[in-house]
Amino acid sequence: SAVISQKPSRDICQRGTSLTIQCQVDSQVTMMFWYRQQPGQSLTLIATANQGSEATYESGFVIDKFPISRPNLTFSTLTVSNMSPEDSSIYLCSVGSGGRYNEQFFGPGTRLTVL
């Protein structure tokens, strides 16, 4: 299994500012995913980040709002730009092998509150 850490664990931000969330994995992984979990809701995939290529965004999410970096096989960042209170959520980093038989592993999440 992969051990995943995220920074920060939580933050309170002002409207209009940006926050960058870091995800560090203890082993090299091919696929990294960023999810959003709004209060009391399920997980929604924001984007898939592969090293060496542009992130692939899901419908409803755009690069200008959620820029992602994937500089190597153990690290990724997600930035939440020009934040509004509607961006208040838990943001989760996840890794997987891309194989059909394997589970995905999740980081502890970053709890973001936008005032």
């Binding site: 399920s42 997980l43 898939t48 059909r100 589970e103 995905q104 502890p108 999440g109």
Partner: protein, 115 residues
């Protein structure tokens, strides 16, 4: 598209009683099914998965799940609930039609175990 449904937003059981958290799925082809648990202020933890083979799958913390192809269900069960099992439970299906074969999650079921 692959999907899972969790018909109950919340399940309440008394400590020591058996518990069931329901999940039904809709897939084209073979289903690859997963259960995750999210404790308060924590990320998702993998519990168990069904890939092939025995319909009764055993997982972490004494949980098991029963795969039923005719009913397209994958219910999570535990013979004797603990107060510490109180958490949010997610059923997920591997979506082989999406890049990265990532998981698609159900809406989640909150399990409350009362002493």
């Amino acid at each position: 598209a692959q999907s899972v449904a969790q018909p109950e937003d919340q399940v309440n059981v008394a400590e020591g009683n058996p518990l069931t958290v329901k999940c039904t799925y809709s897939v084209s082809g073979n289903p690859y099914l997963f259960w995750y648990v999210q404790y308060p202020n924590r990320g998702l933890q993998f519990l168990l998965k069904y890939i092939t083979g025995d319909n009764l799958v055993k997982g972490s913390y004494g949980f098991e799940a029963e795969f039923n192809k005719s009913q397209t269900s994958f219910h999570l069960k535990k013979p004797s609930a603990l107060v510490s099992d109180s958490a949010l439970y997610f059923c997920a299906v591997r979506d082989l039609n999406r890049a990265g074969n990532m998981l698609t999650f159900g809406g989640g079921t909150r399990l409350m175990v009362k002493p």
